[in-house]
Structure formats: structure tokens, C-alpha cells
């Protein structure tokens, strides 16, 4: 019989000296904490943007060697913890997105993500076989999130050299430990939301997660759910480190389809639910509403005196804060429903914006155009453009041109890794200086490859997707960003570490491309067989007949009267007429 080994948990037990029974059992203070937050930002077009963030901070070390494996999980989900320790993951970012973020109409998102699925991972520097770990990690994550992430393999994985620096602590120099892949075709639906919700400490039973009903969330212009895991410093001097797990969900509800055309939103209208309590396991549970844009014309109920100012995305914004851990927020009815009404539309024009499209005609050649706009009136700044193009679009790098204001703009840094057929994709990274108030166009020509017939998907006439380009930049900020480290900063402003006051980090994703490759006619074998058989039958049949057919003279049949006369003569036994 196999006996179970009960391992002791890593919670220290304080025993008073000398006593045998541990009656005075004081557990160590909990080393993990959970915060949840919802930010609601009305957009000038009448749409509304809701961003959920759930953060679990855990003071433990998955990757320390020699220590016994972490086995007691409280708020941190066990499935992710085991993934981190088994594959020696330093940082993990995975996102599933439906829809495209329209920067010009909606501004900048708090946490950007490209359409489809995106996964980038920094492995610990002790890992010897990064590719093997990557392959197994994608398979395990596909089981956890019910997504077909197992389609990530060497043909769509790249190692960016400069674009994806670690967002937490980590050795940023060796990009051999970084892997990046996107699946632009991946859909996100309730089957991905279900396991995502199950990772939260309160699940979808209490706290802000009760608002996540799939019928409303997916009936939106943009839906993105992500998981970000990284090690961070607990304090300013970085004496102790902790693991941070952030689960984010960004959704933009459309003014017309969900909003019935009115600039009036409430929690019930958006999510078909109201809030009744904060998650009991959360140390902080807040709802922020962005009221910066038009304070006089804005109507917000229930009113709250709590205001908070935060500098996020280079702008100082004012937020109304609702603290769900306080019972007064819920009022008499024990239910919290926010009502917003506003008129007018001032919006800060986004400083950085990009588009991408395919030009050309026919099924042989084409051209990828990426257009980047710098809307700052007088400041120029550099951006890092990263393009990962599948191998079946064969890029001709000698045709690469970068023009700004119709003049050549030579990038100061280019990292290009050519594709290898069926092995790895193209990777192109460039550092381009954008002149102020200008449009920069990057073009490169390509040729479409002919795939082997087994490599086509079951619906090849739909086309093949090319993942979004990533543009990472430090955009000059209108307002001084705060570099102070404070523990109780709201989550939405503390995602990206701020290194200097005068600029903020932003990542812009372009549209994915849908390219038609020359597709063979898969009904062709059937047609060919029919045609060939017909030709063979007609040809061979005629030939056979010619060779083997013999002709005989046949007497014409006599008229009816003669036939009748012959019949009577036969009966009588008399010779017949001719």
C-alpha cells in the first residue's frame, strides 16, 4: 500500500520554549496579499472602457535551489505556481484578445495587447534547454487556459533583442532566455474566461469578478484578458522580493450596440450585475472612475467625496474612488451600481499611433506598409519597431525603406534575422527616430510562397494571418511622472516601472494582416479523376470499337401486309414471299 507523505507547510510555527504541546500556536503573518481594482474611463465617442486588475503578491521564492518545493498555496493559484517552478520561468505574460484597440478613438489602454493570443516569457538564467522548456510550457498553458497554444512552435517563435525587456526584476542582457510568439487567429470566448476566473482567490463568487458575465463581456468592441507574472521589489531598497501575479481584463463597450446610443452608462447596463460585496480575501478593493475630462458636465452617482489623482500614461488624471471594503459604499440596498452621464468630448490626442496594411495586387508579390504617427507638436522621440513575419511571406530586405516627411530616415539600430523555411519566421527590429508632428512609413516587399498541400489549414481560402507589429517607445510626458515607489499606488498606474520623470513607456500594436496565399483547388483531384476517366472511356472505347466491331448487312423489314401474308403462309406450310 502506498502511504501518503504529509509534507510540512512552510508556515513557521512559533513554539514557546520547553512546552511539549503547541497550544500557543501563532502562525506567521500571511506572506501573500490580494488586491482588486476596477477602473472605468468614459471615452469621448460615447463608448466606455472598463479595466479590471487583480493582483496577488506573494513573498516566496519558486526558483531557489536547495529549498524544498513550495507546496502550500493560499491566494496564489497552484496551477500557475507549479508551472513557474517546473519550467524555471522568470517572467510570463500571456494575453487573449478579441477585437482591435482603436488608439485614435479611445486613447491608450492601460495594458496593451494585440488581437489573438500573445505569449512572451523570460526564463531563468539557469535553464539549459530553453527551447524544450518553451515547448512544454506552451502545451501546459494550452491545457490551463483551454486555448490552442500548442500551435506555438519554432515557426512562429522569435527572440526579440530589444523590444521586450523584463518588466520586473531580471537580467535584461541575454535575450537568449526570451521567447515571444503570437497566434493572431486565436479566438477568446467563455471557454477561456472560465479557467481564468478560476485562478482568482474568490473565483467569480465575490468581489469585482461577479461582474464578469460572458454574455455581456463578449458583446463588446474589445475584450482582452491577460495574466502577467513577474518578480518585483517589495520596497525601495529592494531588500526583499516578491512574486506578483496580475490578472487583467480590459473591455470596451460599444455606444451603439450595448449602450442604445446614449452617453449614459451604469454598472448594470455594462455587466448586467451590480456589486454586493468586496472579495473577503482582498486587502483592498476599489472602483475608480475617470472624471478628468469634463468635471462640470459629468454626472456620477452615487456621489463620493473621495478623489484621487494619478499620473498615468503621461497625463494627470482625476479619479473618483469607491472603496468596496467599506460597507457605506453599498448603501441601504446592499448593492452598488454606478451611474455615469456626460456630455461633450475632449480627448487628449494620443501621441503615438500606428497602422499597418498590405499593398499590391495578385497572389505573387506584395508590400507591407507600416505607418507610424508622431502627434507631438515639437518633440521627436525614438521608437523600436518589431516585426515578426511568418516564413511563407518571403521578405526582401533590400527593398526596406523608411521615410519620414518624404525623406529617407535611416534607423540607428537594425536587428534582422532572416527566416528559414518551415523553421523560423523573420524577425526585424529597428530603432527609428520619429520627427515631431510627422508620419513615418516603413515599407518592405515580399513574395508569397507556395506551401505543401498538407500545410494548408482546412479553410485555406480564409487567408493566413500575420501577427501585429509591436512598437515600443518612451513617449515624452506632458506631466512629470512620479518615480517614487509607493506600496499603495493604484494598480493601473503601477504596471510599468517608471525610470525617469519626463517620459512614460508605451507599447502600440498594429493591426494583424490577413494575406491570401496561392491556394490550390482542393476539389481538383475529384475533377481530374472525372475528366480523365471520361477521356479514357471515350478514347479507348472508340478505339476498341473500331478494332473489334464487325458489320453485317441487315435486310430491311418488310411492310405489315407482307408480314401478315408470310405469317399465314407459314401456318399453311406454303413457301414464303420474298
Amino acid at each position: 500500500m502506498n502511504e501518503r507523505q504529509w509534507q510540512s507547510t512552510d508556515v513557521e510555527v512559533n513554539r514557546s520554549d520547553g512546552t511539549k504541546n503547541s497550544e500557543t500556536f501563532t502562525p506567521a503573518p500571511a506572506k501573500d496579499q490580494f488586491q482588486e481594482e476596477l477602473v472605468i474611463r468614459p471615452l469621448h465617442s460615447g463608448d466606455i472602457y472598463a479595466s479590471f486588475q487583480f493582483r496577488t503578491l506573494w513573498d516566496t521564492d519558486f526558483l531557489q535551489e536547495g529549498q524544498k518545493k513550495v507546496s502550500h498555496y493560499r491566494l496564489f493559484p497552484k496551477s500557475l505556481g507549479q508551472v513557474l517552478s517546473k519550467f524555471s520561468v522568470q517572467e510570463l505574460h500571456i494575453s487573449f484578445t478579441q477585437g482591435f484597440w482603436r488608439t485614435m478613438q479611445w486613447g491608450q489602454p492601460f495594458i496593451p495587447s494585440p488581437p489573438g493570443a500573445e505569449l512572451w516569457v523570460w526564463f531563468h538564467h539557469t535553464v539549459s534547454d530553453v527551447d524544450g522548456n518553451w515547448k512544454e510550457l506552451t502545451n501546459v498553458l494550452s491545457g490551463i487556459f483551454c486555448a490552442s497554444l500548442n500551435f506555438i512552435d519554432m515557426t512562429n517563435t522569435v527572440q526579440p533583442s530589444a523590444s521586450f525587456k523584463p518588466l520586473g526584476l531580471g537580467n535584461a542582457t541575454d535575450h537568449r532566455f526570451l521567447r515571444y510568439a503570437t497566434l493572431p487567429r486565436e479566438i477568446v470566448c467563455t471557454e477561456n474566461l472560465t479557467p481564468w476566473k478560476k485562478l482568482l482567490p474568490c473565483g467569480s463568487k465575490a468581489g469585482l469578478a461577479v461582474l464578469m458575465k460572458s454574455e455581456k463581456l463578449f458583446h463588446s468592441s474589445f475584450h482582452s484578458q491577460a495574466v502577467h507574472i513577474r518578480p518585483i521589489c517589495q520596497d525601495e531598497q529592494c531588500t526583499s522580493k516578491a512574486w506578483e501575479l496580475r490578472q487583467t481584463l480590459n473591455v470596451v463597450f460599444d455606444h451603439y450596440t450595448s449602450g442604445q446610443g446614449k452617453k449614459e452608462w451604469s454598472l448594470f447596463k455594462m455587466f448586467s450585475r451590480t456589486l454586493t460585496e468586496a472579495c473577503p480575501l482582498a486587502s483592498s478593493s476599489k472602483v475608480y472612475v475617470d472624471i478628468t475630462d469634463n468635471p462640470e458636465l459629468f454626472e456620477l452617482s452615487p456621489a463620493t467625496p473621495l478623489l484621487s489623482q494619478a499620473v498615468v500614461l503621461g497625463d494627470r488624471r482625476t479619479y473618483s474612488v469607491y472603496d468596496l471594503t467599506r460597507a457605506e459604499t453599498f448603501g441601504q440596498l446592499r448593492s452598488f451600481n454606478l451611474l455615469l452621464r456626460w456630455k461633450g468630448d475632449n480627448m487628449l490626442r494620443p501621441l503615438l499611433h500606428a497602422e499597418r496594411y498590405v499593398a499590391g495586387f495578385g497572389l505573387q508579390t506584395g508590400e507591407i506598409h507600416t505607418v507610424i504617427y508622431n502627434n507631438h507638436p515639437y518633440r521627436a522621440f525614438p521608437v523600436l519597431l518589431m516585426d515578426s513575419v511568418p516564413w511563407y511571406l518571403q521578405l526582401y530586405i533590400h527593398t526596406l525603406t523608411v521615410t519620414s516627411k518624404s525623406r529617407d530616415n535611416k534607423p540607428s539600430y537594425i536587428h534582422y534575422q532572416p527566416a528559414k523555411d518551415r523553421h523560423r519566421p523573420h524577425l526585424l527590429e529597428m530603432l527609428i527616430q520619429l520627427p515631431p508632428h510627422s508620419m513615418t512609413e516603413v515599407t518592405v516587399q515580399f513574395e508569397r510562397a507556395l506551401l505543401k498541400w498538407t500545410e494548408y489549414t482546412p479553410d485555406p481560402n480564409h487567408g493566413f494571418y500575420v501577427g501585429s507589429s509591436v512598437i515600443s517607445a518612451l513617449v515624452p510626458s506632458m506631466v512629470a511622472m512620479s518615480t517614487n515607489f509607493t506600496q499603495d499606488q493604484p494598480l493601473f498606474s503601477s504596471f510599468v516601472p517608471v525610470k525617469e520623470e519626463s517620459s512614460y513607456f508605451v507599447r502600440v500594436y498594429t493591426e494583424p494582416l490577413l494575406v491570401n496565399l496561392p491556394t490550390p483547388d482542393f476539389s481538383m483531384p475529384y475533377n481530374v479523376i472525372c475528366l480523365t476517366c471520361t477521356v479514357v472511356a471515350v478514347g479507348y472505347g472508340s478505339f476498341y470499337n473500331l478494332l473489334t466491331r464487325t458489320f453485317q448487312v441487315d435486310e430491311p423489314s418488310p411492310p405489315l401486309a407482307k408480314r401478315l401474308a408470310n405469317f399465314i403462309r407459314r401456318i399453311r406450310g406454303v413457301p414464303l414471299l420474298a
Binding site: 477568446v188 470566448c189 471557454e191 463578449f218
Partner: protein, 330 residues
């Protein structure tokens, strides 16, 4: 004489009673299954095949409702209908034209989706020959005491079933896969339901024991769809599965409905096609097989206050391994 008989009776009653307990215990351990699995496959792609996804999801919903957990269900959907851009009500898949029942629900886990639903993956799931990095949720971890329900739906013909309009599985391949499962002791009893045109041809070639099969139509007949919905614009469900769902909605975990009731689902007057079934390879009488033996996860629990003597170590092992379930490690 009478006293003697009375004393004999008195003595034999306790002996008889303990015998009764032992035979009951023997029956309890020797027959039946200890866990349930379900493999539900929709093989069609494209928006106009909405009904096949609705078919599969309605069986998924029934099976979950009757107790089989997500970890024991392998759900394969070849295309996404719920969040398809053509769906006027996103994140929903309806089974009835008045949009009464959302079979997609709020708690669904799809294990194989989109391009992953291929003949190769289906056969690998059945036979267990998956690459080592496959996660647990994508594996059929059944053992020799598992009852498995396999449901297939899509477009089919005489002797084959089409996967995603680009490849096919033939009835011989399926029969061989089941034989592999039998030889590897991967099932105790298996119920195979298929809802396609000419579905009965798919179970013609089975030759492994303990298989029961149901199909929505005979060879030469087409299975028909039930009704279209004008708002969604496509047919919502197939007739056979629609009536099957109606039947299953009446079943609850304690129900005593048996397979003979299942065979009567959707007679020709309702279905237009003639549903067929095959029970010759099945050892038990279909009348004694409960619906919940395959569709639910009902454990036989008998509370007893008597001690049962487990004598030999061999017996003990046989009794105990019948109870142990798969451990859940990563």
C-alpha cells in the same frame, strides 16, 4: 423434531445474514464501473454548421449536469460559434428557436478547438498515444473500470465521417481504435452515439466486446436538422439530438431510466430518419443498464454497519484498486 428445526433455523439466520452481506459485498466489488468519462466531438467547421456545435454542447451540458466533472470530459469543437462574428448574440449557442436554452452557458471548458480537431488527435485521445507534453485536460485517462460515452456529430456518409471538410475517419479505423482501447484495458463499457447522415454505417464494423452503439439514421438515410432560427439565420440543432436532449432533461442523477428508453428516443415519426442501435457486443441486457451509467457519474455508495472480512491479499487488492481514482498531479 420441531424444536430441533427451530434451533437450526435460529442458528442459520445469523449465518445466512452474514452470507447475505458477503454476497452483496462481492456483487458490489465485482460488477460495474467506478468512474465515467465522456468524449464529445463536433467535427464540422463554418457558420452554417452551427447545429453540430449545438448538438455537442447540449450533450456536454447534460453530462455535466448529471455529474461528470470537466476533468473527465474531453470536449472537441472544430469551430467557434459562440464568439463567431456572425453570431448576433455573442457567447451563446442556442438549441431552440425561441432562444430558450443557452447550451454554451457560463462554465464551459473546451479541450480541443479549431484546427486541433483532427482525425489524428481524436484517435490519439481514444488510444492514449499522445505526446508526453500533452496536458491532463486533453487526455482520456480512463482505466479498465471506466464507462466511456463517445458522441460524434458532423457530416458523414456510408462508412465515413468528415472532419472539418478536409479529412475523414472510416468505420474500420474507428472499430480498430476501439479494439486498441479494449486490448489496453481502457474501458469497462463504452456507449457510442453518432448523429450524422447514414450514421448506422459507422458502428457496423465494431468487433470489440462491451460496446453499445446508437445512431440517428440507417444506411441510405439522411439525418435532418430540426428548425432554423430567423434571427441567427442557421439551423440550430439536429432532430435526433434535439429529442435526445429533451429526453435527457428529464433524467436526474437518481433516475432509473434505462437504455431501452434511450432506444425509443426520436422514432421515425419525429425524426424522419430511423434511429438504429446495436447491442450484440454488449454483455449486459440493455434493460438493466441505467442511463446514468454512461451519462452521469453516479457512484455506488452503500453504507453498512457490518464488518466485511477481506481474507486473501489478492482479494484485498482487487477490492481496493476498484476504488482508487486517478491522482491529480501536474
Amino acid at each position: 423434531m420441531r424444536i430441533f428445526a427451530f434451533i437450526h433455523l435460529l442458528v442459520s439466520i445469523p449465518h445466512g445474514y452474514s452470507n447475505y452481506v458477503e454476497t452483496k459485498a462481492g456483487q458490489f466489488f465485482s460488477s460495474g464501473h467506478t468512474n465515467n468519462w465522456a468524449v464529445l466531438v463536433c467535427t464540422s467547421r463554418f457558420w452554417f454548421n452551427y447545429r453540430h456545435v449545438a448538438n455537442t454542447l447540449s450533450v456536454y451540458r447534460s453530462v455535466k449536469r448529471l455529474g461528470i466533472p470537466d476533468s473527465h470530459i474531453v470536449l472537441m469543437l472544430a469551430d467557434d460559434m459562440a464568439c463567431n462574428y456572425r453570431n448576433p448574440k455573442p457567447a451563446t449557442v442556442f438549441s431552440h428557436k425561441n432562444m430558450e436554452l443557452n447550451v454554451y452557458g457560463d462554465d464551459v471548458e473546451v479541450d480541443y478547438r479549431g484546427y486541433e480537431v483532427t482525425v489524428e488527435n481524436f484517435l490519439r485521445v481514444l488510444t492514449g498515444r499522445l505526446p508526453p507534453s500533452t496536458p491532463r485536460s486533453k487526455r482520456l485517462l480512463s482505466d479498465d473500470r471506466s464507462n466511456i460515452l463517445i458522441y460524434l456529430t458532423g457530416h458523414g456518409g456510408n462508412g465515413f465521417l468528415k472532419f472539418q471538410d478536409s479529412e475523414e475517419i472510416s468505420n474500420m479505423e474507428l472499430a480498430d481504435a476501439f479494439e486498441q482501447m479494449w486490448q489496453k484495458r481502457r474501458y469497462n463499457e463504452l456507449l457510442f452515439i453518432i448523429d450524422t447522415c447514414q450514421g448506422a454505417s459507422m458502428y457496423e464494423r465494431f468487433y470489440s466486446p462491451n460496446l453499445m452503439a446508437l445512431a440517428s439514421s440507417q444506411v441510405g438515410e439522411d439525418s435532418l436538422s430540426h428548425q432554423p432560427d430567423l434571427a441567427i439565420g442557421v439551423h440550430l440543432m439536429d432532430k435526433y439530438t434535439f429529442y435526445l436532449l429533451e429526453f435527457l432533461e428529464e433524467v436526474h442523477p437518481a433516475s432509473q431510466a434505462n437504455m431501452n428508453d434511450l432506444f425509443k428516443v426520436c422514432p421515425q415519426s419525429q425524426c424522419v430518419s430511423t434511429p438504429g442501435h446495436r447491442t450484440d457486443l454488449f454483455q449486459r441486457d440493455p434493460g438493466s443498464v441505467l442511463i446514468t451509467d454512461f451519462f452521469g457519474s453516479v457512484r455506488k455508495v452503500e453504507i453498512t454497519k457490518d464488518t466485511i472480512n477481506l481474507t486473501s491479499p489478492v482479494d484485498r487488492k482487487k477490492y481496493i484498486t476498484g476504488f482508487l481514482c486517478c491522482q491529480t498531479n501536474l
